[in-house]
C-alpha cells in the first residue's frame, strides 16, 4: 500500500495505535505528566497521555494547566528532549580487566528493544535529524546511537498551538511536520467530534495504520488540520519571538566581542540547564573508573555541557574561564558555527532553553541585543 491517503483515527481509538506498537515489539515512549510537568517516558496505554492538560511556558516559567478540552496533545514541547533515549545521559562504553599485567577490554553491547516515540513535534524531528548528522553521518559513527536510531519508530504530531517560547517559525523547523516520520498525526476537535488526521511516510508506518480502525479523511477534515497548523504558525509570527534567521551566522561571527556578551554573563549562572534541555546539544564527557581492587575498570560516557568550567580544561586551566566566553560558545555554536560544521543551524526553535533557564535568559532576546550593537 503506497501513498496512502490521509486517514481518520477516532480519538477513542488512539490506544489501538499504542497497543499495535507494543505488539510489534516496540518500547513505547510518549508525553506523560510527572512532577507537574510533561516529560517523555514509557507509556502503556493512551490513558498515560496528558489528556486535558496544556502547558504555559515563558522565560524561566513552566506551568501545567487544565486545557478545558479533551486533547491528548494539547501541550507543546515537553521538558525532556527525546535525545535522552537515543543518546542516554549516562552509558557504559566498555569494561576492562587486568590480570597479571594483561588488559582485557569488553565493549558494551547496545542491544535493546526498538523504541517508538509518540508525540514527536516537527522541531523535535529536526532535532533528531541534527543529532543524526553528528552521530551517524559524520566521519565517525556512534554505533550505540545508530542502533537505536535505525530501529526507531516515530509518531509525529503537528502543532496546532504554540507556546509563547516557541520560535520554530523563525527557524523554519515547524509547526508542520515536513520531515519523514513513520506516522504523522494532527489532533482535531471539531464541535463534538475528536479525532486524528493521520498519514504514514514509511512502510512500517503504513503497516501499523493498517492494524488500526480508520477511514479516509474528508476535504473538510483536511482543511481543519491545515487551519490548526496555521493558527500555531500565526501565534509565532505575531509574537515577540519572531525574527529573520537567515543571517545569524554572519551576525554572530562579527560580534564575538559584542558588549551584549558582558551583559548576559552578569545574569547567566553557567548552570548548564539550557544545554541539558536543548534537543540538539550533544556534548559528552567520558569518565574512566576503577573498582577498589584496581583490577576492574570502566568507561562511562555522560552528557557534558560547554557551560561547565572544566569543559575546556587543558594543562592546568580552562580555556573558557569566563561565563561570558561560555555563553558565547554555546550560542555561537548553536546558531553559527554549527552551520559551518554540519550545513545547518543547531537550533530548532523549541524554546526549551528559554523556559528552563532559571534566570530567564532568552536566546531570541540575546539575538536582538546583538543586533542592537551590531556594526556590519
Amino acid at each position: 500500500m503506497k501513498n496512502m491517503e490521509p486517514q481518520i483515527l477516532a480519538a477513542e481509538n488512539l490506544d489501538t495505535l499504542i497497543q499495535a506498537l507494543k505488539t510489534s515489539g516496540f518500547f513505547v515512549i510518549g508525553p506523560v505528566r510527572q512532577e507537574q510537568t510533561i516529560v517523555y517516558d514509557e507509556i502503556h496505554s493512551a490513558a498515560d497521555l496528558p489528556q486535558g492538560w496544556t502547558d504555559e511556558q515563558e522565560k524561566g516559567h513552566y506551568r501545567l494547566l487544565p486545557s478545558g478540552d479533551s486533547r491528548y496533545f494539547g501541550h507543546t514541547v515537553a521538558a525532556h528532549a527525546w535525545k535522552k533515549f537515543l543518546n542516554p545521559p549516562k552509558q557504559l562504553l566498555w569494561q576492562a580487566h587486568r590480570e597479571q599485567g594483561r588488559i582485557v577490554f569488553s565493549p558494551q553491547s547496545s542491544a535493546a528493544a526498538p523504541l517508538a516515540f509518540i508525540g514527536v513535534r516537527s522541531c523535535e524531528l529536526h532535532a533528531i535529524r541534527i543529532q543524526d548528522a553528528v552521530f551517524i553521518h559524520d566521519a565517525h559513527r556512534d554505533d550505540h546511537y545508530n542502533n537505536r536510531r535505525q530501529t526507531l519508530f516515530t509518531v509525529a504530531v503537528n502543532c496546532t498551538r504554540a507556546a509563547a517560547t516557541c520560535f520554530c517559525a523563525s527557524m523554519h523547523t515547524g509547526p508542520e511536520v515536513t520531515l519523514t516520520s513513520d506516522i504523522v498525526l494532527t489532533e482535531i476537535i471539531d464541535d463534538e467530534s475528536h479525532y486524528f488526521l493521520m498519514h504514514a511516510d514509511t512502510d512500517s508506518g503504513r503497516n501499523i495504520i493498517q492494524q488500526l480502525p480508520h477511514h479516509v479523511a474528508t476535504p473538510t477534515q483536511h482543511a481543519l488540520a491545515k487551519q490548526g497548523i496555521s493558527a500555531a504558525r500565526d501565534q509565532m509570527i505575531n509574537g515577540p519571538r519572531y525574527f529573520d534567521s537567515s543571517q545569524l551566522k554572519e551576525l554572530l561571527y562579527r560580534n564575538l566581542e559584542s558588549p551584549a556578551w558582558d551583559e548576559v554573563a552578569e545574569r547567566c549562572l553557567s548552570c548548564a540547564n539550557c544545554t541539558l534541555a536543548c534537543p540538539t546539544c550533544f556534548c559528552s564527557a567520558v569518565e574512566d573508573t576503577t573498582d577498589l581492587t584496581g583490577q576492574h575498570a570502566e568507561r562511562w560516557q555522560r552528557w557534558d555541557s560547554c557551560f561547565n568550567r572544566d569543559f575546556s580544561y587543558i594543562h592546568g586551566g580552562a580555556v573558557r574561564q569566563s561565563t561570558r566566553s561560555r555563553y558565547r560558545q554555546w550560542m555561537t555554536h548553536k546558531l553559527a558555527s554549527w552551520i559551518d560544521q554540519f550545513g545547518h543551524s543547531g537550533c530548532v526553535g523549541c524554546g526549551r532553553c528559554i523556559t528552563w533557564c532559571p534566570v530567564g535568559i532568552d536566546i531570541t532576546e540575546q539575538l536582538t541585543a546583538l543586533q542592537e550593537t551590531d556594526a556590519p
Binding site: L256, F282, A285, V286, G294, I314, S322
Partner: protein
C-alpha cells in the same frame, strides 16, 4: 573506534625530566595502522584515563608507534610510569596531520617550541630520509633551557642532512648555541618566500609569535601550518570538547593551514 586496542610497551626512554618516549606494539595484531605525521593516538592508562598524544616516531616504522609524553596530569603521569612489558589501550590514529604531499619540492621551515618538537619529529625523519625531494630544510627549535630540549642525541644526525638552529631562553656558560627567542631565528632565516612552507608547533603563544614573524617576512598565510591543542575526550568529533570556532581540533585538525583559521587564532577564550 570506541574501545581501545591492547598495546605493550617495548621500549621506554626518559628524554628529559618527566618526559618519556614509549615505543609500543599491538598485542593482538601483527601490524599497526599507518599514520601521517601530525596525527595522534588516544592512549589509555588502565583506570587512569585517556589522553591524546601525537605520534613522534617515523611513519615508516610498521611494527611499533613511538609517543613522547610529559607527565602533566593524572593520566599522563600514569602513562609515563609504564615500563617495558606493561600494557596500555590505544585508539587511533586520529586527526589531520601535516601537509606532507605539499612539501615536495618546497623549502621547508620547521619551527618547534618545547614539546612541540615531538609531533614534528615524524616530519623531520621523513624529510631527512629523502632530502633530495625538497628545495631546502631548516629546523628552528626553541626551548626554555638546554636541559629541557628533546631528542638532542638525534640532532647530530639531523644536522648532517638539514639546517638546524636551536635557541633557549636561559643557559649556562657552557652553552654555545643561541640564547633568546625563537622569532630571532625565524627573523634571520633566509628562505624563498614564494616556495616555502612553514610548519609550526608549540604552545599557542609561541606559535602566534612565530606566525607573526613569518608574516613580517612576507610568507603568505596559505604557506603556514600550525598544530592546535584543546581538551579532547572522544577524538572522533562527538564529545564537543575540542571545538574551536567552527573547527573540531580532533577531526578537522590538529594541524591547520593558518589561512583557514586566521580569524580564530587571536580570539580569546574561544
Amino acid at each position: 573506534m570506541n574501545t581501545p586496542q591492547r598495546y605493550q610497551v617495548v621500549h621506554r626512554q626518559l628524554e628529559i625530566p618527566a618526559t618519556v618516549t614509549l615505543e609500543i606494539q599491538a598485542v593482538d595484531a601483527a601490524h599497526i595502522a599507518p599514520f601521517s605525521p601530525g596525527q595522534f593516538n588516544m592512549l589509555y592508562g588502565f583506570g587512569a584515563g585517556e589522553v591524546p598524544i601525537s605520534f613522534s616516531g617515523s611513519p615508516n616504522a610498521r611494527q611499533s608507534y613511538r609517543h613522547t609524553l610529559r607527565a602533566v596530569g593524572k593520566t599522563s603521569e600514569a602513562l609515563s610510569q609504564l615500563q617495558v612489558g606493561d600494557q596500555l589501550g590505544v585508539r587511533g590514529p586520529f586527526g589531520r596531520g601535516w601537509p606532507m604531499d605539499l612539501l615536495i619540492g618546497k623549502h621547508v621551515l620547521i619551527i618547534a617550541g618545547g614539546l612541540g618538537l615531538a609531533p614534528l619529529r615524524p616530519v623531520i625523519e621523513t624529510l631527512v630520509s629523502q632530502t633530495d625531494q625538497y628545495a631546502g630544510i631548516q629546523l628552528f627549535y626553541g626551548g626554555k633551557r638546554p636541559e629541557e630540549l628533546l631528542y638532542l642525541s638525534q640532532f647530530k644526525t639531523w644536522r648532517s642532512a638539514i639546517d638546524v638552529e636551536i635557541i633557549v631562553d636561559r643557559a649556562g656558560p657552557d652553552w654555545s648555541g643561541h640564547i633568546g627567542v625563537i622569532t630571532q631565528l625565524v627573523n634571520t632565516a633566509h628562505f624563498p618566500v614564494s616556495n616555502t612552507i612553514a610548519l609550526v608547533c608549540g604552545p599557542e603563544i609561541m606559535m602566534r609569535f612565530s606566525v607573526q614573524t613569518l608574516q613580517s617576512k612576507s610568507l603568505p598565510d596559505t604557506a603556514i601550518y600550525v598544530s592546535m591543542e584543546r581538551n579532547m575526550h572522544c577524538a572522533i568529533g562527538h564529545c564537543g570538547h575540542c571545538q574551536w570556532g567552527p573547527n573540531f581540533i580532533c577531526k578537522d585538525g590538529p594541524v591547520f593551514c593558518y589561512d583557514d583559521i586566521a580569524s580564530w587564532f587571536y580570539q580569546k577564550e574561544l
